[in-house]
Amino acid sequence: MRREAPPGRDPRAVIGAVLLSGVVLMTLLVPLLSTSDPAAQHDVVATRLLPPGSTDRFGAFHPLGTDRLGRDVWTRLAYGGRVSLAVGTLAVVLSVAIGVGVGAAAALARGRLSTLLLALTDFALAVPRVVLLLLLAALWAPSVTLVVLVLGVTGWMTIARLVYAESRSLVARPFAESALALGSGRGRLLVRHLLPNLLTPVVVAAALGVGNTILLEAGLSFLGLGVQPPAPSWGNMIAAGRDALMDAPWIAGAPGVALVLVVVGCTLLGDALQDRLGPARGD
């Protein structure tokens, strides 16, 4: 076992963790503390497009202002964040499952199956992801489940390549060889010996993938092909703020800043983890 520096030493890990936990806490706590419904509209004329930090005539305080229907942007940001974070995380979990499966199968199988799986991975990597996303969203009715599935099945390739490369080098190592010599089957070798060693590089790739996936989800919702209004998501909030850029830049501004914070957090955490693995690793 290699001793590693505690993660607290790396400022990137600290900043990344603070950013991510801050946003996660906001999405969890704000709905508990705030009484306003993210889709509720009161007196639209009196409460719409209030600037950040204002109090409306009913005494409700709006830290990030209101949108054109008088809904509280701060509350919607928190509810939308729940959707964005959940979709991003679930889709990456799906990608990791597919990627580990394909990568490990390609590494352990011999001959044609292995070649076929690798060719499939290369093919999927060459397809522009957004094109596939748009296509799938066009053919099926948009829903949160569809977005998770679509993002999951279009994002596994880098993980598969990583797992393939790592597994091939692990299988050649003495501990894998001795497991095989002791009569361990390939399935057992994979589960008991390879997967534990693959955990860290896969976690790094997943951390970097979550940020990217959240950006894509928001992009789909922005184009009207993801989470459907009135349910808030960061993407459809930006789309709704597009018409009010002049009068109320905070409507589109707030969810964009939240997106950047989450993605920067994921990248910093991923980078810090990657460096702990040693500079030569990673793809």
């Binding site: 060459a126 748009l134 950047v260 993605v263």
Partner: protein, 324 residues
């Protein structure tokens, strides 16, 4: 030199064929009957059946596939349900705009990104390095659709400097030569800036990493030991070698750059393949969606082959290994 290129091109054709096939299968797996969609909601069952026969939808799937693939390969891509224009003409008008936008932004973001990465590697570990790293992580995290809107808010609405929509003004055709070019550049500015700002962040991060990976290499120690200046070691030796993974990245990042272009085109009403695709998807205009997906795959694959050629140019060893 030629043989690997032919192989690469063949692999590229295979990818485009794969995309076309995938799209065909998805279309058939999806709920909803294209025949019913084409004839409209007021059609009788008999009319729908007639339309199904006309489209060949009543024939077995393998037969449909062969016929469809044959038509597609011959360039018969059908007509748009929404505009009534031939799909081929729509995409023929659109692809140069996308290619122009993507190529210019790649050029700018690689030039700027490599410069930033080299500066960072040169001053490694100092405050400047940290500041530039923080900046590049943030730029890379910016969503294209959001950055585009923020730039529009600033430069179009607040400062009233630059136009936010289209590739040319309404009066562009009547402008004299010089003014027309200026008009085109002003329209290009915001979409190009959006894609480039994000790209610079990604490239700078990667170049810095690739240069730092070479730290302590024997050839760099040698270069230093024979008395070369720090700048020459950095540019002539470290950068030249770091360029190889960077060019490979160029090829691998093309799908992502194209994806960014899709959002940017949708925001700035840029008349390219991405905008055609988004509008067709939103209107469920299937013939256009199909062809636009194939054309974007073809653009990306062509770019990948070009990146392969560039790697050979940057690393004579790769050329040599192909020759033997």
């Amino acid at each position: 030199m030629l043989r690997p290129l032919v192989l690469r091109a063949a692999a590229g054709v295979a990818v485009v064929w794969g995309v076309v096939t995938l799209v065909f299968l998805l279309l058939h797996a999806a709920p909803g009957d294209p025949a019913a969609l084409l004839v409209g909601s007021a059609a009788t069952p008999a009319q729908i059946a007639e339309q199904r026969r006309t489209l060949g939808l009543d024939r077995p799937l393998p037969v449909q596939y062969t016929v469809w693939l044959g038509r597609f390969a011959r360039g018969d891509w059908g007509t748009s349900i929404v505009t009534g224009r031939p799909v081929r003409a729509m995409l023929g008008d659109a692809w140069p705009a996308t290619a122009r936008l993507v190529l210019l932004s790649l050029l700018l973001s690689y030039a700027l990104g490599i410069a930033v990465g080299v500066v960072q590697a040169g001053v490694g570990g100092t405050r400047l390095d940290t500041a530039l790293s923080a900046a590049s992580v943030t730029l890379f995290a910016l969503p294209a659709y959001w950055l585009g809107l923020m730039l529009v808010m600033l430069f179009t609405y607040r400062l009233r400097l630059l136009p936010a929509f289209g590739a040319a003004g309404l009066d562009a055709e009547f402008l004299p030569g010089g003014a027309r070019v200026a008009d085109a550049i002003r329209h290009l500015a915001l979409p190009l800036a959006t894609l480039t700002i994000i790209g610079v962040g990604g490239v700078a991060r990667f170049v810095r990493g690739a240069m730092l990976d070479l730290r302590g290499s024997l050839f760099l120690v040698t270069a230093e030991a024979k008395g070369l200046s720090a700048r020459r070691v950095l540019i002539d030796h470290a950068l030249r070698n770091a360029l190889i993974p960077v060019i490979t990245l160029l090829g691998l990042s093309l799908p992502a750059v194209f994806s960014g272009a899709v959002f940017v085109e949708a925001i700035f009403a840029w008349p390219g393949v991405g905008r055609v695709l988004v509008e067709a998807v939103q209107a469920r205009d299937y013939p256009v969606v199909l062809a636009a997906a194939a054309v974007s795959a073809a653009l990306v694959v062509t770019g990948n082959v070009l990146a392969e050629v560039l790697t050979g140019w940057a690393d004579p060893r790769i050329r040599a290994s192909h020759a033997t």
